[in-house]
């Protein structure tokens, strides 16, 4: 589904991504781990079009996507969340969910004014879907609260909800469970796993919790100083000397 070839990204003399190649197959969950500053979020930013690459190629569903603006990449079905959750503060939780819905009618002034019946039908359908997702994410009682008033963990949940509303083919999650309480974290992992199994979506997840990783990931990629140092099943990674030295020794 996603193929990255020899990706390069430099900030001045710092090689944030140094010749990274990797692949995320259809309907599978791949974890991305590495110490702080190893280039994980940079990789997401380049893949999703927020940063320009300095070299290499990115293919999504066989199509080259590097160089496209972020919104075009999202429209192709590759969607991301942010490490520091973004939530329009003066919009309610439910508005946030509706904002993300795919194939909306009334997103331009003309149809918003003159196709009101069709707009209302599409809004109703999206509303039902949004409420079901909020229920799953335990945000239902907060539906009419401003997103700006949510806690950090709740914002993480909301960003997951928004991404699910969008129905992409592949989802990049940047630390989806940071700041989420342990009970909900387990449920979240189950939700991701369920979504992957039911709707055959691919996930690429940055995560620091080894527990989450070994629970849901089919495969793990390890970055250190912008280079891929290892790749394999969660069990293999936990045995890998290099990885232990770079990353897990401190934990």
């Amino acid at each position: 589904m996603l193929t990255i070839k020899n990706l390069q990204k430099r900030f001045g003399s710092l090689r944030a991504l140094d010749d990274v190649s990797l692949e995320v197959e259809d309907d599978c969950i791949v974890g991305l781990i590495g110490p702080n500053g190893s280039g994980k979020t940079t990789l997401f930013n380049v893949v999703s079009g927020f940063y320009e690459k300095d070299g290499g190629e990115i293919y999504f569903k066989g199509e080259r996507i590097d160089g496209l603006p972020p919104n075009k990449i999202a429209k192709k079905g590759l969607c991301r969340t942010f490490q520091v959750s973004k939530a329009p503060e003066k919009m309610t939780v439910l508005e946030n969910m509706l904002l993300a819905a795919e194939h909306q009618i009334g997103e331009d002034p003309f149809s918003a004014l003159f196709l009101r019946a069709r707009v209302q039908r599409s809004e109703k359908a999206n509303l039902d879907r949004a409420l079901a997702l909020l229920d799953m994410l335990q945000l239902l009682q907060l539906k009419n609260d401003y997103a700006g008033d949510l806690s950090g963990g709740q914002k993480k949940l909301l960003s997951l909800g928004r991404v699910f509303m969008l129905k992409p083919d592949m989802i990049l999650l940047d630390e989806p469970t940071a700041g989420v309480n342990p009970t909900l974290r387990v449920q979240l992992m189950e939700a991701i796993k369920r979504l992957q199994e039911m709707e055959k979506k691919a996930f690429f997840i940055i995560e620091h919790s080894m527990k989450v990783i070994s629970n849901i990931c089919d495969r793990v990629v390890v970055l250190n100083f912008g280079q891929k140092i290892a790749e394999g099943t969660p069990e293999e990674i936990q045995q890998n000397e290099q990885v232990l030295e770079a990353y897990l020794s401190g934990a």
């Binding site: 603006p69 919104n71 969607c79 503060e89 009334g106 707009v119």
Partner: protein
């Protein structure tokens, strides 16, 4: 009688500025586009409509539509630099575009009669309405414009389109990550706002029947900003409330000069000082303005 005439004049001016403030609110309060060149739309609307009628003899209705269309086109042009300029730098560019439009009106004498302005703008439907009733008729016409514009802007704001605009205001990168073409949305917002302000320009020109570049100084933009700061951003009732408060200060103190022992220069300076203090007080003690943005609640 003089008092009644004055109240009608004041109300009409409040109405015209309400249209301008609603347009500015659509840009600033809803979309988060900091436009310091709002007066450009006003100027284009006024000049387009009056020149078409006075010089080309085109029917007033067509002239009004042309004024809206040309201001909308100018909104489109103004939105282009949002692609490459961050919001604060774009704001400075808009300040310049407001001045450019005024200076074109001032210097392109073959088209605009330059500093002499456009004179002899006819009154709409003059033959059908008695001279005494005309001011009231025009006030009603302005109010009708406000109701129609309010209806459309409110519908737009509460549609998926408006939701996208609010999301751009609050968190533009998120919009991009959700596949929204934010550039196109800003463009559409600027065209809509431009059309509304262009209408206000046409309504203004046919009310005072004489326009010159003097009417479109940058200070007009700042008055409109004062309106949305005082009235409240993100809702159109706030824009109207702000227009009422600021115009009451702005217009009524002009006539206070007759009763206060101050020269007209001092009075003009004092007027702006009062409005400045009002802006500061609101920003400090009531930053959300007189009327707060309404939360959209689903049950």
């Amino acid at each position: 009688m003089a008092v009644i005439n004055f109240v009608i004049y004041l109300s009409t001016m409040i109405g015209i500025y309400s249209l301008l403030a609603m347009s500015l609110n659509f840009q600033v309060g809803i979309t988060g586009l900091i436009n310091f060149g709002q007066v450009a739309f006003f100027c284009i609307g006024a000049y387009t409509s009056s020149l078409l009628v006075v010089n080309a003899g085109i029917p007033v209705v067509v002239a009004f539509l042309a004024a809206m269309a040309l201001s909308g086109v100018f909104g489109y042009i103004m939105s282009i630099p949002t692609k490459s300029l961050k919001s604060d730098y774009w704001a400075i560019a808009t300040l310049a575009s407001g001045e450019i439009v005024r200076l074109v009106a001032l210097n392109e004498g073959w088209l605009t009669a330059g500093p002499f302005g456009v004179m002899g703008i006819p009154q709409i439907l003059k033959d059908f309405i008695s001279k005494d009733a005309y001011p009231v008729f025009y006030l009603l016409f302005v109010m009708a414009c406000i109701i129609i514009v309010y209806f459309f802007l409110d519908k737009l704001t509460n549609s998926p389109f408006g939701r996208n605009l609010k999301a751009i205001r609050d968190e533009e990168e998120l919009c991009l990550s959700l596949g929204k073409d934010t550039q196109k949305l800003k463009l559409q917002a600027m065209v809509v706002a431009g059309m509304v302000a262009g209408l206000a320009g046409a309504v203004f020109a046919f009310y005072i029947q004489f326009i010159s570049p003097e009417n479109f100084q940058p200070i007009e933009t700042f008055l409109m900003w004062a309106m949305i700061i005082v009235g409240g951003r993100g809702n159109f009732m706030g824009a109207i409330a702000g227009a009422v408060v600021i115009q009451l200060f702005n217009v009524s103190t002009r006539f206070l000069g007759n009763y206060v022992p101050l020269g007209s220069d001092s009075m003009a300076a004092l007027r702006m000082t009062i409005i400045g203090v009002l802006i500061i007080l609101f920003l400090l003690y009531r930053p959300e303005g007189l009327i707060k943005e309404k939360k959209k609640v689903y049950d």
